[in-house]
Symmetry: C2
Subunit: 328 residues, 2 copies
């Protein structure tokens, strides 16, 4: 933090925005987005200044057909200097494919909730950890850094609250196994600012060398507030999804990932340096409904930026002249 | 502020929640909500612990037919002790009606933007001020306190930024004319936390005796963050609308008023004392779609409270047993 930043004013403090839409967002869509459109989307995001882009996932094409073109996408995007192209990888087979395709980083997933991990991955957490440790070993041999996304850090939709000590324990084990970074994921939008402030503080104290990312959902309207609480506790990397793509499987119609252009719009107004070009983000977001066949949650896409002004009503001059005549 | 409250933790600090849905929300609806349903809604809000409820408006029934039953509503609601029932009043005629109907408070409106005031009220700000000063005089004679809601405090959708000095000047003139309180309104969702922190700080310094309310819209996703910035600057009264009723005239489909149950849900999690019973608010919100004929923006209505848990998937026990068998 710079000396002069406050919870409400960034004083040009650098914030790293990481885009998850091409993977986390498109994976949820029923329509297959053509490969060329995915590549154009990622290229637009690269040009807009994102620090990291989760480009795709190396998973079974039968399990997730939406991302069956992972190799082609990773081969044909225009890699911008300084942008990290990360890929979700569930197992050794996926890691081999991602490394072969020259992913800049592998992103692994495990849940802090035993119930959620079993329900989602059909493994105990201990089984997941053992398997993912093998993936980290492979990646290290290949010289490819690994990030681990921990789900349900701020609560599990089936178990309820998760003890922060459990979160720190798993994060510490993954760091000891060789991960570069950890993402604390608010998988179903249960995080609230007091809790976020406390957990981010504990994490930075315990694991100061880890590259820490926060991944929030706006399911209960607290996404931006949670970002601000994280920044105040010293975090500076955030996942977000262009247009707010990606819903919540537990609440049809509810918001999922925080929206990239909403967070960038707010943080830039607050004098944080997101590195992003908001106009380019909005151009890219405007093309999303055409790709996915429905409207996007983004509030900025609907309402525009705060200083996108409107013309007065057509009769304005008449009303003004009448009003002024009353004083004459 | 209590000594131990921080931007992220309220330490049981008292926050006064003021409901604007029955007036600001229903006024925007195309369908007329039957009078008995309005009364039941207000009674439910009274029982849920709101500090103040804007019950209706004493305006021309031709101009706003949705609120043509103002007298009946105000007569037939069950007034809960300690709850202030305020009514919007545009002019002397409305003030006479509201006083006759035993409103606890009159709420007057003027815009800080000359363009917005002319476009909305067909008067210059000076003309509005002169007319509203007369209303304040009448209310004082009758012993009824007056609140003045200043529109476009954080920006005008036609003019852009509004100088905070202009806001403070008009607020000071209304307080000198005898108002009890001032509401700083973010009429079209242009406020952002740094700006809010600064303006609330200036206001409290200049007009410490005024009862200060903040009225935010969530148009660009910054509603809760603006509430938190206000609290940190010492404000403790907030307008909000049950279900998030009330859209934005400049952006079809965009959010309007911040949602009462979203703000209460967040602030109670953060250990602020809102005085509200969230379960009763959610019951009242659940009846809104039936009254207005469409879904409500409320995220909490869609997703539930953070600890409203879900059952594991039907096959969960099978998956768990299979996973555990692998370790046996």
């Amino acid at each position: 933090m710079t000396a002069s930043s406050t919870p409400w004013t960034g004083a040009r403090r650098r914030v790293h925005m990481q885009e998850v839409g091409p993977r986390d967002g498109l994976q949820m869509e029923s329509a297959f987005v053509p490969t060329a459109d995915k590549i154009a989307l990622i290229d637009a995001l690269s040009a807009a200044g994102l620090a990291k882009i989760e480009a795709t996932a190396f998973v079974s094409p039968q399990a997730i057909p939406a991302l069956r073109d992972a190799e082609i996408v990773l081969r044909e995007i225009a890699r911008a200097p300084g942008v990290v192209y990360t890929c979700l990888v569930p197992n050794l087979r996926g890691a081999e494919r991602a490394i072969e395709a020259r992913a800049d980083e592998l992103n692994l997933v495990m849940s802090c909730s035993e119930t959620h991990n079993l329900a989602n991955l059909r493994m105990t957490r201990a089984q997941s950890f053992a398997a993912l440790s093998g993936v980290i070993g492979l990646a290290r041999q290949a010289g490819v850094p690994v990030n681990v996304s921990l789900s349900c850090v701020f609560g599990c939709p089936m178990e309820g609250d998760i003890d922060p000590a459990v979160v720190l324990e798993w994060a510490g084990r993954f760091m000891a196994a060789g991960a570069r970074g950890i993402t604390l994921c608010d998988t179903t939008g249960m995080a609230f600012p007091s809790q976020v402030s406390r957990i981010v503080g504990l994490f930075r104290q315990r694991l100061p060398a880890a590259e820490l990312t926060l991944h929030f959902h706006n399911t209960r309207g607290m996404g931006l507030a949670n970002v601000l609480a994280s920044l105040d506790a010293g975090a500076d990397r955030f996942d977000a999804s262009l247009g707010g793509l990606g819903g919540c499987p537990y609440a049809p119609g509810a918001s999922g990932n925080v929206c990239t252009e909403e967070i960038v719009h707010a943080l830039e107004l607050m004098d944080f340096d997101t590195g992003c070009d908001l106009a380019l983000l909005l151009q890219a977001a405007a093309r999303l409904p055409g790709l996915i066949g429905h409207e996007i949650p983004s509030q900025i896409a609907k309402a525009g930026r705060r200083l996108d002004l409107h013309a007065p009503p057509p009769d304005f001059a008449l009303w003004r002249d009448r009003a002024l005549a009353r004083d004459a």
